[in-house]
Amino acid sequence: MNRIPIVLKSEFKRRVTSKGFILTTLLGPIGILVFFGIIILISAEAVDSDSRTIAVVDDTNVLLEHMLNLQSVDHRFTPVDAPLDTVRAQTLAGVYDGYLHLPAGLLTDEASPEYYSPEGGGFSLANDLEYRIGHALRQHRIGEHNLSPEVLKSLDTNVSLGLMKLTDDGEEAGASWVYSALGGFMGFLIYMTMLIYGTVVLYGVIEEKSTRVVEIMISSIRPFELLMGKVLGIGLMGLVQLTVWALLMMGGLALAGVVAGMFLDPSTLGVPATASSQELLAAADITLPNVSVDVFVWFVLFFLVGYLLYAGLFAAVGSMVEQQQDTQGLLLPVMMPIIVSIMFISPVLENPHSSLAVILSLIPFTAPVPMVVRLAVTEVPLWEVLLSFSLLCAGFVATIWVSSRIYRVGILMYGKKATLKDLIRWFRYA
């Protein structure tokens, strides 16, 4: 008789009914929003603190005016009419963050502008200043030719590159960055959930071992049944949690759409006042990504098998120790591949067809994160997805076999920490 379902049911029920689970499931999305909100706030704050007060000594007498015409959020330019030595002293005294010298010869290309500051400036500041001075110089030279305002206006262009995603259906869907964001989010989610649920398995195994309940369990069922029941039960718990999160977030997005629609004025967008919020959003050029169902199906599949693969390994680690503190050294090698896969998430996002991306998504231990990212941002050939998934499944079968052999011996071992030699010995036990 197979008792995996009994273990599965008990493990699942025990966890899903716990207060911690209910809280994290309902509050998780809020937590994620707060998390990203804080990141955005911090980055905004970081940009703010970057703003400088720059003294400008304009020997040309014409360029500063044009520079000031360009809006700047980052820096405040203060015209200074004093000898350079004085400005230098003031800058060193901290009155200005730096000073810019525009020599008179600049207008005739006989001299270069120079920027002085105690901190030496940075790459982006240099870019910004070069752009402003170049712009001012251009404006000045155009002005010298007495061009008509029409010509000036026609010269004033503002190009914004639209990135479109081309799919087999021939559809040009919304902005590509939305897909990148989605891909990054899904990759991050699969990484987080594999680690979190893997850790739940780890602690479950350690708890059974340290409370000694495991000896009773395996006098009733085979260790493999206990291992699989536990891993599957916690996996099911994870799936329920992810589903609730997905529903909450979809609901939240729909609600956000309606709310946004209420704040948009139909008349300025050129649509009838009776237009639905969706039509309004479309007219305002706010598009939600049109992601095919396949991507979500693959996400669930790669999450499940990836989780199973790591859960088996985490369980093996758990069986080797008696306390949570003892896991650290053992967990690192197990978690290394998954950390590697998340480290490479941005190269994969930028170039989802690079050989790095393909290789990472074929190695079972690193496959789930890059594969989900690639599926979200680009078209991956079906054979490649299937090959990656088959290898992942094969990897799972191999690791669960190794893990269960270590597990069944490890859970009965007390008193000393297992060494690699012990592991090999356990593995060989009949």
């Binding site: 273990v7 059974e208 000694r212 000896e215 009773i216 006098s219 009965l412």
Partner: protein, 305 residues
């Protein structure tokens, strides 16, 4: 009802031999006491019987069938190291263990009610296990062991942590099980309990069986070589016997001593000395050695050899 046969079984962990060609038998309707010092191989033996580990050599049979995963359906095992899921309610816990051992839900709930009542634990059924005292957890553990009516009961130190009233209740239940024809394996260090309960004993040390047989036969084979004394006065008269290696004092107070005769020393020498050197002699009794005395002399004889 099953006979449990351990047939020249050996178990090694790496280079360490935990059980060395052990053979013994446990019979239905009898209680076999499995005795041995710490690290003697008791737990290793029990784990092989419960099919938790496998024997390297030899065979373990229940009713002449070699043990395998099937044996766990016939087995109730109470390990020495107790363990329960702390967060589960008592009734959930018992139901989980019962279902794992093949009981149907409705069948199990009836039995759980019966046994909780028997142990006077009904009102705790909905409590979380971690809220229970150690003794109560002990009782829950025993209930889970006995719940599916196993043919073979393996009880490792079942009385530890129980107060006298509950110990007596547990003893009654174990004896009931014995009368119902179950085969019972009782592992313990508590010699007086073993002596009270067991029909047969099996003594293990360093993985080998030192003695195996019925308790009475084993005691008889040692003969009446022990003396219980009660007296008034100075007990120093015994010391020369000790230093000359004629006796060993196994327990001694101001007014009493339990003595074991060694190397065929005549019992009457002690009697004469007692009469001559004590103010009053209340008791002189020539008896068979206690089980703990047998245990000590066998284990020490083994390590001396």
């Amino acid at each position: 009802m099953p006979i449990l046969t351990i047939d020249t079984v050996t178990k090694r962990y790496g280079k360490f031999t935990a059980v060395d060609k052990a053979s013994f038998e446990a019979r239905p309707g009898r209680i076999l006491g499995l005795l041995g010092p710490n690290g003697a191989g008791k737990t290793s033996t029990i784990r092989m019987i419960a099919n938790i580990t496998a024997a390297d050599e030899g065979e373990i049979r229940l009713d002449e069938k070699p043990v395998g995963p099937w044996v766990q359906r016939h087995l109730g095992y109470l390990p020495e190291e107790r363990g329960l899921y702390k967060k589960l309610k008592v009734s959930e816990q018992l139901l989980y263990f019962a279902q794992l051992r093949g009981l149907r839900r409705d069948d199990a709930t009836g039995r759980i009610r019966h046994w909780l009542k028997r142990f006077d634990m009904e009102k705790w059924a909905a409590s979380k296990t971690q809220e229970l005292s150690k003794g109560m957890q002990q009782k829950i553990q025993f209930i889970s062991t006995i719940l599916p009516d196993p043919d073979l009961l393996i009880l490792d130190e079942p009385f530890s942590g129980l107060d006298p009233i509950n110990s007596e209740l547990l003893r009654d239940i174990i004896l009931e099980q014995k009368d119902a024809g179950r085969t019972i394996l009782f592992a313990s260090h508590r010699m007086e309990q073993v002596e009270q309960l067991c029909d047969d004993i099996c003594l293990i040390a360093e993985g080998r069986i030192l003695v195996h047989g019925s308790l009475r036969d084993i005691k008889n084979s040692f003969g009446r070589d022990s003396i219980n004394l009660e007296f008034e006065g100075d007990g120093a008269f015994l010391d020369p016997f000790v230093s000359s290696g004629q006796i060993r004092i196994t327990s001694r107070t101001h007014h009493s001593a339990e003595i074991r005769l060694l190397n065929g020393a005549p019992a009457r020498n002690i009697l004469e000395a007692a009469v001559n050197h004590t103010d009053a002699l209340y008791r002189y009794e020539l008896v068979m050695p206690s089980l703990s005395e047998i245990f000590i002399s066998l284990v020490e004889g083994k390590s001396a050899a």
